[in-house]
């Protein structure tokens, strides 16, 4: 069962070949047996999961099942779960048990899905390798066969690893600068970052509010569509949520791709990309041509400024968002503070990890008197230029395609001492967050036995088109079916 997709498991449950309780137990046993190799879960909610699975079986028996009733899955530990520890990968929230559900959590609960636990992540979603979690690094299931411990990518590396290692068929994830697509690429799974505002951010612990977006991670595009059907939609509790009609994302998966216009941004096929990676990505684009798509080169002239703009805007917003962690109302508090300032400064020094502190300090610096115009305002103007590049490109093409990452998964510890080198891991993904458009990563080959991701980028609210393009690719390739040994 663990090799089946969400869509297949849904059919198995519907046919009565297996019950929700049996299915949950199988995956829970697998997590217990296998996850010590990966550390992809922070919390496993066995008791709650089995109770929810029992309720799902009762719902199905009463004829009230949805496609998600009884389907096991996991939440990234950034989504608040009522009564279940939600840590965001941080010592600061090590024992935080929210008294409410995030809207995404609530939507899956209402759909009857069975959450098996919370997946590991870079602390407060800051990282590109999943090495900054207070609960230890996550290990990519790929490369282990050769005795190599490689990173799964970050910050949704726990979710990507859990899906790739067949510990769950699907998991929620979030993407601020590439945190869904980069780990999806490095672990050989399919991940979608929707349009900014498409999925509610209510109860999703904030890192950079104008960039953060919840999204989906599973092995197939079809499963991503099933997930987005549950997650997408207007939420009055989130002031950045957009009131737009939500289509059925599974309805258009099988539309033919004949006539699809693909743009290849020349800036994303630069010297930073290894020839082996480029070969795999261009081979994937050839498959699209065989399916009837046309291809042309396009330019995103300001793409080279994306990382610089991101590393002003994201830390600036993080410095504001993380000011709430002060040791007063919830979370970690230092021992015996001597006065209020000591309480704040020691709580935050002890509760936050190195990368989080680094980004808070950069953000505070960029927002401080005398630097605001030169850094923050300038970055927001550059962001407009980057957005305009995409708007111009989508006048001529329907989707853009590029590599998701410049290289396959790297060895753990290889880049931790140099934050700037680590930041460059998101070189092909960050501009998409700045513009707020949707993008996917789809498994598209291997280099040295490690997965390669193809990034498909779309115009605002074109998730259905992206899922259609990914699904059609997965009908003629089997990269997404490969299992790490």
């Amino acid at each position: 069962m663990h090799n089946k997709s969400v869509a297949e498991l849904s059919r198995e449950l519907e046919s009565g070949k297996i019950s929700s309780v049996e299915l949950a137990q199988q995956f829970l046993d697998r997590i217990k047996r296998e996850d010590s190799k990966y550390n992809s879960f922070i919390t496993v909610t066995e008791e709650q999961a089995l109770a929810d699975a029992k309720s799902a079986d009762e719902l199905r028996a009463a004829g009230n099942a949805t496609p998600w009733t009884g389907i096991p899955f996991a939440h990234k530990d950034i989504f608040c779960t009522n009564g279940v520890k939600t840590t965001c990968g941080s010592k600061m929230l090590e024992n935080f048990v929210p008294p409410y559900n995030a809207t995404v959590t609530e939507n899956f609960r209402k759909a009857g899905a069975v959450c098996l636990g919370k997946t590991n992540m870079d602390e407060f979603a800051m990282g590109s390798s999943n090495e900054s979690s207070h609960f230890g690094p996550v290990t990519n299931p790929w490369g282990l066969g050769k005795g190599e411990k490689r990173v799964p990518g970050g910050s949704s590396g726990g979710s990507a690893t859990a899906v790739a290692a067949r510990l769950v068929p699907a998991a929620t994830a979030t993407d601020t600068g590439g945190s869904i697509r980069q780990p999806a690429a490095l672990c050989g799974v399919t991940g979608l970052k929707p349009t900014y505002g498409r999925v509610s951010r209510y109860g999703m612990i904030a890192f950079a509010s104008s960039l953060d977006q919840g999204g989906t991670m599973a092995r197939t595009a079809e499963d991503n569509a099933l997930m987005l059907n549950v997650m997408a939609g207007f939420d009055p509790k989130d002031s950045t949520s957009l009131d737009r009609e939500v289509p059925d994302y599974t309805a258009t998966l099988n539309e033919p791709l004949k006539g699809l216009r693909i743009g290849l941004p020349k800036e994303y096929f630069s010297d930073e990309l290894s020839p082996a990676m480029e070969e795999q990505v261009r081979a994937a684009v050839k498959e699209y041509e065989k399916l009837g798509a046309t291809v042309k080169e396009v330019s995103l002239p300001n793409a080279r400024l994306a990382i610089a703009a991101y590393y002003v805007i994201a830390p600036a917003e993080a410095s504001a968002n993380l000011s709430r962690f002060d040791g007063v109302r919830y979370g970690y508090r230092c021992e015996d503070p001597k006065d209020l300032m000591d309480l704040y400064t020691r709580t935050r020094a002890e509760g936050f990890g190195t990368e989080v502190k680094r980004r808070i300090l950069v953000g505070t610096y960029a927002l401080s008197a005398g630097y605001f115009d030169a850094y923050y305002l300038k970055a927001q103007k550059v962001r407009r230029l980057i957005q305009q590049d995409f708007i111009n490109a989508f006048r001529d093409v329907d989707v853009l395609m590029s590599p998701t990452t410049p290289s396959p998964a790297f060895i753990q510890g290889e880049k931790t001492s140099d934050p700037v080198t680590m930041y460059l891991e998101d070189v092909f993904t960050i501009a998409i967050n700045l513009a707020g458009i949707p993008a996917m990563s789809v498994p598209a080959g291997f280099v040295d036995g490690l997965p390669v991701g193809l990034q498909i980028i779309g115009d605002y609210f074109s998730e259905a088109r992206l899922l259609n393009a990914a699904h059609q690719f997965q009908q003629v390739t089997d990269w997404h079916q490969r299992e790490p040994q």
Binding site: P236, L242, Y311, L361, A366, A379, R383, R384, Q387, D418
Partner: protein, 95 residues
Amino acid sequence: MTISREDIEKVAVLARIRVDDEQVSALESDLGNILDLVDQLSAADTDNVEPMAHPLNAVQRLRPDEITETNQREAFQAIAPATENGLYLVPRVIE
């Protein structure tokens, strides 16, 4: 770009994060490198460019002026590090 020790100490106070001497030295190098990366922005011509706060130019939504939240004080205080008589406890501020 270089960032001075004094700058880091000042920013750490603003950010309410205690940093010791050893950390300041490491931060000098790390933050300097990050600001070097960020300095690429100065090369961009942004004259007459509108800053972008929201990708879809959304505006703050207003809701009817009605009470929608119920009182959950006990639930919220149950997860606080220190409370007493329904109040959050902090070190004494006024002697």
